[in-house]
Amino acid sequence: MMSPSAIPAVEARNITKRFGATTALADAGIVIAEGETHALVGRNGAGKSTLVSILTGLQRPDTGEVRFAGQLAPPLADRDGWRRQVACVYQKSTIIPTLSVAENLFLNRQSAGGPINWRSLRSRANELLDQYGVAVDAGRMAGDLDVEQRQLLEIARALSFGARFIILDEPTAQLDGPAIERLFDRMRALREQGVTMMFISHHLEEVYRVCQSVTVFRDARHVLTSAVDDLPHDELVAAMTGEAAAGYQARARTTSTAAPTVLTAEKLTMAGRFQEVDLTVRAGEIVGIAGSGSSGKVGLAEALVGLRVPDSGTVTVNGTRTRPGDVASALRAGLGFVPQDRHKEGFVPLLSIGENATMPIAHKLGRFGAVSPSRRRARAEKMIEDLAIKTTGPAQPVQDLSGGNAQKVVMARALADDPTALVVIDPTAGVDVRAKQALLGAVEDAAERGAGAVLVSDELDDLRICDRVVVMFHGRIVKEVPRGWADAELVAVMEGVDAR
C-alpha cells in the first residue's frame, strides 16, 4: 500500500451512481498510488465499468468526487482536460466502424492543425500497430475487423496517448494467449516508465501476474483494497462473492460409445478458414475445440450452427441434415448455441431479457403463434435464477445489463429449448468467476441430461470440462487430446509446436 504522505495518482471518493432503480455504485471509491498497476475486481454488475466511466469523465457521479494527483478533476465538458489525465480501453467498443483503422487510432488528432496527410497517417498507424504486434492493415475499414482485432485496436489506441494513467476495462476478454502475453509485456514496460494503470479482469490469475494492489467491489460497494501479495486467491474470491468458494471442478463423466451421435460434420470446408473438417459429437459428450488465433475454430463453429455458409461438406444434427447457412433449421433440429460476438448476434438490445432468452422457443409459449406473456415471464424468471443473472427482472432491456450478465442472457437463450446439441463459443468471455462456474455448469448439466456439446475456447479452464479437445491449426484438425491433458501439452499443440 502507499505511504500515507504520498499523494495518490488517482482518487475517487464516496461515489454514488444510480441508473433509475439500479444503484450501480453506492458510496464506493478507489485510491491508486502513483506508478502502480491496480486491479479492480468484482462480480458482473458490481459497478466496475460505471466507475470507469466516472473516472474518464463520461458520466457525472450523483455524489462524490474524483481527483488526479490531488487536483479536482476537470468539468465534464472539458474533454481535452480529461484526456490529458486518463486514457482508457472501454469494455464496450468505441471503434467507429465506418472509419479506417488508421483514423480510429488517431481520431480527433489526425493532424496537428493543418490538413490531414493520409499517407503519413497510415504509415504512423502501421508503425503503431506493428509496435503492439497487431497484424492489421491500417487502411482497412474498422467495421471489417473481427472482435479480437478491434480489441487490439482499442488497446493500441489507449496506450498510444502517452497518458500517465491508463484504464483497461477487461482488455483480455477477447484475446488469445499470445496476444495477452504481448499486452502484459507492454503493461510491464509502461509500468517501468512510471505509468499508473487500473486493470479490470475476471481472470484472477492475470491480476496476480500484472498487478500490485487490488480493490474489490461487491454489490456496488467497496469491499477491500489490499496488496496483491497479501491476498491469497481464495480470499480474493471470497471477497468478491461474499462467501468462501473453491475453483470450478470439472465433473467426471463417462460417455458410452453406444450413445447416439447428436452432431456431425463431414468434410466441412470453407475456403480460407477451414478445410475438410470431420467432427462427431455423441450424446452426453463435451468436445472442446482449441486453436490459436486464426486457426479457423470460430469459423467452424459458426458453420456448424448455420451462421456461415460452408463451401462444401455437410452438418447433421440429430440425424437431420441442416441446410447450410440456415440457423432456424439447425435450431429446429435441436441445436442451441452461443455466438462469439454477443453484441452482433447475441441479443436485441432494446428487447427485454425475457424476450431475448425465449426467442427460440417463442412457438412453445402459446398456441396458434401467440406468446403468453405470463409463461414467458415464468420461463425467464427460471432462467434468471438458474444462471444468477443480476437484473431488476425479466422485463429489463438487455441493453441495461452489465457485460457479463448480458452474456448470461445469451447462454440462457442457447439453453432455452433444452437442446440436444450445444455449440458454445467463448461462453465465459467477460463473466465473473461465479458466473463462469454457472455457465460451465450449465454446459455440463446439459451434457448430463444427454446433450452433446461443442465448446470453442482459448481458455484452458473452460476446456477442462471437455471429454476430449480437438485442436485446430491453420484450418485443419491436427490432433485430438483426451481428458487429462497438461496445460503445456495443449498449448504446444495449439501453437503448432507439437503437430505430430
Binding site: 441508473f19 433509475g20 432503480a21 439500479t22 450501480a24 465499468s49 460505471t50 470507469v52 466511466s53 474518464t56 463520461l58 458520466q59 472501454y90 469494455q91 464496450k92 467498443s93 468505441t94 451462421l307 440457423v327 432456424a328 435450431l331 429446429r332 448455441f337 455466438p339 452482433k344 448476434e345 447475441g346 441479443f347 436485441v348 438490445p349 432494446l350 428487447l351 427485454s352 424476450e355 431475448n356 426467442m359 427460440p360 417463442a362 412457438h363 402459446g366 403463434g369 401467440a370 406468446v371 403468453s372 406473456p373 431488476t392 427482472g393 422485463a395 429489463q396 432491456p397 441493453q399 441495461d400 452489465s402 437463450r413
Partner: protein, 347 residues
C-alpha cells in the same frame, strides 16, 4: 439516423437521461407504456381547445368525422409503422393508394369510361385492387431482400414509377365510372359508424395484438432491433420481412379502396404527398426511424393528433394565409409536450 444513440458503447451510460421509473422497480414495460402514452396529454389539450373554440366540436357527428377522415391515413401509418419497426422503409405506399384502385377499376370498366378494355368481371375489381397492393409489396421485397438494394431508394423509385404508371394508363384522367363494389366500403355505415372506421379499428387491433403477443409480431421488433441476433435466434428474417412488405402493400391498397369510395372517383393524383404525413404521424407517435422501437398504439395517437389539429383549424376558420404556419407550429408544440411528459430524449 442514429440520433441520440441508445444501445451504445463508449460507456455504460449510453443513455444518460433515463426517466425515473414508475414507482418502485425499474421496469421496461412501464417505460414502454409511458412512451406509448406520451401523446395522450397533447390529445387531451387538443380536445379541450377544440371544445372551447366550437361547441360543435364535441358532437358525436364531428368526432365521427374526425375518425372517418383519418381512416385512410391511419391504415397507411399502420403499414409504415410495421415496416419502420422492422427497420426498413417504404415510400411507395402513397402511390399504391392511387395505383391499386385505379388499376382495379380500369381492368373492370368498359373502355368507353376510360377503362383498359379488358372488361374483366366487375366482381373481380376489389380483389384485383388488393392483389395489386400485395404484388407491389412483394416487388419491393424482392428488390430489397433478394437484390439487397437500399429500401429508401427502391421505394422512392417505386413511388415515382407507380404514380407514373397510373398517369400513363389513365392518361392522367380521373376515373369516375366506378363499380358499386368500389364505393361500398368507403361509404357504408355499420352499427352507426362508418364502415371504414370499423375496418381501421379491426386492423389496428389485429396489428397491436399480433405485434404484442404473437411470435411473428415480436420477430418484427427483433429484426428491427438487431437483425443478426434475430437470425441467430432462429427467426426466419427474410420470410418475416416479405410478409411485412406484402401486408403493407395490402393495407395501402385497402386505404386506396376506402379513399376511392369516400371520394367517389380515383384521381390521377390520389394519395400524392401523403407519405410525408404518414411519416409525420408515425414518428410523432413514437416510432423510431432506426427500427425496433415504437408501438402501433403510439402511431395511432400520432394520427389522431394530426386529425384533431386539422379539424380544429377548420372549425376555427383560420385564414388560409396563416393556416400552414399555425399547423406546423402546433405540431412542434405537441412534440415538446410529448418530450416534457415523458422526459425522454427522442430519436
Amino acid at each position: 439516423m442514429t440520433e441520440t444513440t441508445v444501445a451504445s458503447p463508449g460507456s455504460p451510460g449510453g443513455s444518460p437521461d433515463k426517466a425515473p421509473p414508475p414507482g418502485g422497480g425499474h421496469n421496461g414495460l412501464g417505460l414502454a407504456r409511458f412512451r406509448d402514452l406520451a401523446l395522450v396529454p397533447a390529445i387531451l389539450v387538443l380536445i379541450v381547445v377544440g371544445a372551447l373554440i366550437e361547441p360543435a366540436f364535441l358532437s358525436a357527428d364531428n368526432l365521427t368525422n374526425v375518425l372517418q377522415q383519418q381512416t385512410e391515413l391511419s391504415l397507411l401509418v399502420l403499414a409504415e409503422a410495421i415496416i419502420l419497426i422492422a427497420g426498413k422503409f417504404d415510400l411507395s405506399l402513397e402511390s399504391t393508394v392511387g395505383l391499386a384502385p385505379a388499376l382495379g377499376v380500369a381492368l373492370v370498366i368498359p373502355a368507353a369510361s376510360n377503362g383498359l378494355g379488358t372488361d374483366l368481371p366487375v366482381a373481380l375489381g376489389v380483389p384485383i385492387c388488393l392483389l395489386i397492393g400485395m404484388l407491389v409489396g412483394a416487388f419491393n421485397a424482392l428488390l430489397i431482400l433478394r437484390f439487397k438494394l437500399s429500401a429508401f431508394i427502391v421505394t422512392l423509385g417505386m413511388l415515382i414509377v407507380l404514380r407514373g404508371l397510373q398517369i400513363g394508363f389513365t392518361g392522367g384522367q380521373n376515373l369516375f365510372a366506378l363499380p358499386e363494389s368500389f364505393l361500398y366500403l368507403g361509404n357504408a355505415r355499420w352499427l352507426g359508424l362508418p364502415a371504414s372506421v370499423w375496418i381501421c379499428a379491426v386492423a389496428y387491433a389485429a396489428g397491436i395484438v399480433t405485434l404484442g403477443y404473437f411470435r411473428h409480431g415480436r420477430a418484427v421488433y427483433a429484426i428491427g432491433g438487431n437483425a443478426d441476433a434475430a437470425r441467430a435466434a432462429g427467426v426466419r428474417t427474410d420470410r418475416v420481412m416479405w410478409t411485412v412488405f406484402v401486408v403493407a402493400g395490402l393495407l395501402a391498397a385497402l386505404a386506396g379502396l376506402l379513399m376511392t369510395g369516400r371520394l367517389g372517383s380515383v384521381a390521377a393524383a390520389q394519395g400524392d404527398g401523403m407519405i410525408f404525413t404518414v411519416f409525420a404521424a408515425a414518428v410523432i407517435g413514437g416510432i423510431s426511424l432506426d427500427g425496433g422501437k415504437g408501438t402501433l398504439f403510439g402511431a395511432l395517437c400520432g394520427v389522431l393528433v394530426l386529425g384533431l389539429i386539422n379539424n380544429i383549424l377548420t372549425l376555427a376558420g383560420v385564414s388560409a394565409q396563416w393556416i400552414q404556419a399555425i399547423y406546423g407550429g402546433i405540431i412542434l408544440i405537441a412534440l415538446m409536450l410529448a418530450r416534457l411528459t415523458t422526459g425522454k430524449a427522442q430519436d
